[in-house]
């Protein structure tokens, strides 16, 4: 029981007691030591369910969408990536900042490989910080993409084809992604015909690439899509390729920061890179 966990519980107890928030979204333990589950604490006696350890990896921001139209604040425990997810949802006009009370948690102990390339271990926005800010580490976010680019075209195609042929279309990557917050996803509009329901490599490819393109310029690089994929498809390798190109062509760019910058594909400058002449 580290001290941040106790401090977190006390903070939540106080917030619930003085009705600052209606309920707080955090993590709770499960039967397995290396798994935690998102918890929704509304009773101050329940705060002992909250935990904070290196297994608190699932992203919480999107759960606030379930009750986005009810009044009263919702408390969310936010690590660096969760806070960027909240910025993402605010930027996409899905959540209002004043409906949220963000409990910041500097996060430095996770052992997921996405966390090695994390550039914002401290929450980018919060109402209250629990624990001391940690040292930010520089990381080459696009190292893996570079390795991929070094391969030949046919090698890259067969790499992606074998990955997409595994996809069982459970849509976990879409449902967990904070950038994927459309009210009616194109993949569910079977009648319109964008996306067939059958699972074969071609349909999986169009799903994979379309989702990459839909979130590419708004992806906050939290790596949840890769964590939740039951078939272990390296989804981040696609979106990070787009972010790498964006950084090269349109200047340094990171999504989900409170600077309120519009998504790259939603704006333009007259002097953009252009080789279509």
């Amino acid at each position: 029981m580290n001290d941040i966990e106790t401090k977190l519980r006390e903070t939540v107890k106080r917030l619930l007691a003085d009705h600052t928030v209606r309920y707080v979204i955090g993590w709770e333990a499960t039967r397995f030591e290396d798994k935690t589950r998102p918890a929704f604490i509304s009773d101050s006696a329940d705060t002992d369910r909250l935990v904070w350890n290196k297994y608190c990896v699932s992203s919480l921001a999107k759960y606030a969408l379930d009750e986005q139209h009810s009044e009263g604040k919702i408390g969310i425990c936010v690590r660096g990536c969760d806070s960027r997810a909240v910025c993402r949802l605010i930027e996409d006009k899905q959540l209002l900042r004043e409906n949220l009370y963000l409990i910041g948690l500097p996060c430095d102990d996770k052992e997921m490989n996405i966390c090695d390339t994390c550039t914002h271990r401290n929450p980018v926005i919060y109402d209250e910080l629990v624990g001391e800010p940690v040292l930010e580490r520089q990381a080459d976010r696009f190292a893996m993409v570079g390795l991929m680019e070094a391969m030949s075209a046919d090698e890259r195609y067969s790499f992606w084809e074998s990955n997409y042929s595994k996809c069982i279309r459970c849509y976990a990557c879409r449902n967990i992604c904070p950038a994927c917050n459309c009210r009616a996803c194109y993949a569910d509009q079977e009648r319109v015909g964008w996306q067939g329901k059958q699972m074969n490599t071609a349909q999986n490819q169009i799903y994979g690439l379309t989702r990459t393109y839909h979130v590419g310029d708004r992806c906050i690089e939290c790596g949840e899509c890769e964590r939740v994929c039951p078939m272990m498809i390296p989804v981040m390798l696609q979106t990070r390729k787009m972010l790498k190109d964006i950084n090269e062509m349109f200047g340094d760019y990171e999504c989900g920061l409170p600077d309120g910058r519009a998504p790259v594909l939603g704006e333009y400058t007259l002097g953009d890179a252009d080789d279509f002449m």
Partner: protein
């Protein structure tokens, strides 16, 4: 994946032409009896930014060997900012397709204004030759039911 090209094979190229500039440019080429390869199928779109990246992937899946997106020069867009978004969107799309194994020449974009009939003909001819050289596209193909 070396592909042996049967002689007499004609590539299928889909060209999205923006209604206000490129389409009229192509019309002008026709008026001036300019000769350009007939394996290009022109799809008229209100603006080059109407072209959705899914159209491009679906085109390859449905059997195209090359896709060309043409629009007005930046600044001439009938909808003022349409082609600025096109520019960003397809600069990224080109790289993403290349990253996924599609040869860069198979997906190209060009600014062709209403008066540049010659440029339309040259572009289409060059793209057609490049793709003929590359041979039929076997990637992203929509397989038939086994």
């Amino acid at each position: 994946m070396s592909v042996n090209i049967k002689e007499g094979w004609e590539p299928k190229i889909l060209a999205f032409c923006c209604n206000w500039c490129t389409y009229t440019g192509a019309d002008l080429a026709g008026l001036n009896r300019m000769k350009y390869p007939e394996n290009v199928r022109v799809a008229r779109v209100p603006c080059s930014s109407r072209v959705n990246p899914q159209f491009v992937i679906r085109a390859f899946q449905k059997g195209c060997d090359g896709v060309l997106v043409c629009g007005c020069h930046p600044g001439d867009c009938h909808y003022v900012t349409g082609n600025y978004f096109t520019r960003r969107r397809f600069m990224l799309m080109k790289k993403l397709l290349e990253y996924n194994g599609i040869d860069p020449n198979r997906f190209q974009a060009r600014w062709i204004s209403g008066s540049e009939a010659a440029k339309f003909r040259d572009t289409v001819t060059r793209v057609s030759e490049q793709i003929k050289e590359l041979g039929p596209n076997v990637k992203f193909r929509e397989g038939r039911w086994s």
